[in-house]
Symmetry: C2
């Protein structure tokens, strides 16, 4: 029997480490409220970018890009938002860092932010090339693990709206109860009983004393969310839109 006296192979040689270095990207899931293209109901939409290089050439993907050395993470997300949609976020929060080994042929860890924007009715909101808006629940098969990332962001949005006043981020500063209820219905994907909703919502709203004019002989009252006295104890996720 021959005994080979060899040093155990290093798992990774210095050259290999350099070649296999992990890259960092920042991606954004940007939610806006718009009428559904078929039903006209308020629906959650998001912008996607069509890839112009491999891998996944031609597939739609989340807006984003490599982290620049002169930008912190939230700034990178804002920059992507602005470049892709022309909007500044009404709400921005870090979602999660996705780092499975096989999520991309080159090793890329993606730190994902999610944002809420208020798409003005008269703005198409498309700024960049290869950018299109999709109904969030109706996206095609995307590049990388982006379908999974969107699902996770939707889960976060749907959970958060039940305990944190983020609904108003989709609305003007003053809004009617019907407009507020539409936001919850769009996010939760189901109808809510108007009387029940009214009863619960009024506990958290401030009447403005004004009404939405020009509608009918019973113009609906306008409300606002009172300024928060202190941050919600449960919202310990760092919000970065201030």
């Amino acid at each position: 029997m021959t005994i080979h006296a060899e040093a155990p192979a290093d798992r990774v040689t210095p050259t290999a480490v350099e070649d296999e270095r992990v890259s960092l990207a920042v991606s954004t899931v940007i939610f806006a409220l718009r009428p559904h293209p078929v039903t006209g109901e308020p629906t959650i939409w998001l912008p996607l970018v069509r890839r112009i290089r491999e891998p996944h050439l031609g597939r739609w993907a989340l807006p984003g890009g490599p982290l620049r050395p002169d930008e912190d993470l939230a700034a990178s997300a804002r920059h992507t938002l602005e470049r892709t949609t022309g909007f500044a976020p009404r709400y921005l929060e870090q979602l999660y860092a996705f780092g499975r080994i096989d999520r991309s042929p080159d090793r890329v860890v993606s730190i994902v932010y999610w944002a809420l924007v208020r798409a003005e009715e008269d703005a198409h909101g498309v700024v960049g090339d290869n950018v299109e808006w999709f109904v969030a629940d109706e996206v095609p098969a995307l590049a990388f693990d982006h379908n999974e990332i969107i699902e996770y962001a939707l889960t976060r949005l749907r959970a958060k709206i039940t305990y944190s006043p983020i609904a108003y981020r989709f609305l003007p500063e003053e809004f009617t109860l019907a407009q507020l209820r539409e936001v919850y219905e769009a996010v939760l994907g189901r109808r809510l009983d108007p009387a029940n909703f009214r009863r619960q919502a009024l506990r958290h709203l401030e009447p403005t004393g004004r009404c939405l004019s020009g509608r009918n002989h019973r113009p609906p009252a306008l409300y606002r969310f009172p300024a928060p006295a202190s941050p919600s104890p449960l919202t310990f996720a760092k919000e970065e839109s201030r």
Copy 2:
């Protein structure tokens, strides 16, 4: 007037991007329950590693290291845990990605995980060199932004224990009400009324039918947490200890 027709300078030249590339690290905040060194009360502790190179040579820092190309993020955190403490986590969750430009002289983005370990009473729990355990509320000035990271992890722990059954991760499979109450008192940093606590806790516990033996003529009953029927709707943070 001379007009210079120059192409706008690229913000970053290819060489500069290579030199200023962003590195990725995975750090861990590892919480264990142990008696306070002075008072003897159950307290939250965590392990720190003393730095052996610049910057911050000689300062204590969170255990961690660069992300290896062959490991995903949670595996990297587990590997650090094992290397530093010898323990496997009873609970592991991604906390946040810290990426301020100035947090480190070289641009390093740190993806931080927090973990709960059950430090066996007979195990000192120190495996690596330069590793020591500190009371979590009494750490010195650390390297980088690690004091801020620990504060954030403690905030997450203290919030989560109020709506999620993570307390049992610090305990044996069967435990007394007093042992459970000690966990809450250690995490929340205050005394809890035993009768009130008992009343609330019993709603969520399963009696085992056994008692803790060898104590006195009224041995305390042992309880366990029932196996969860479905994940808590609020625990949408991806738990990675399964």
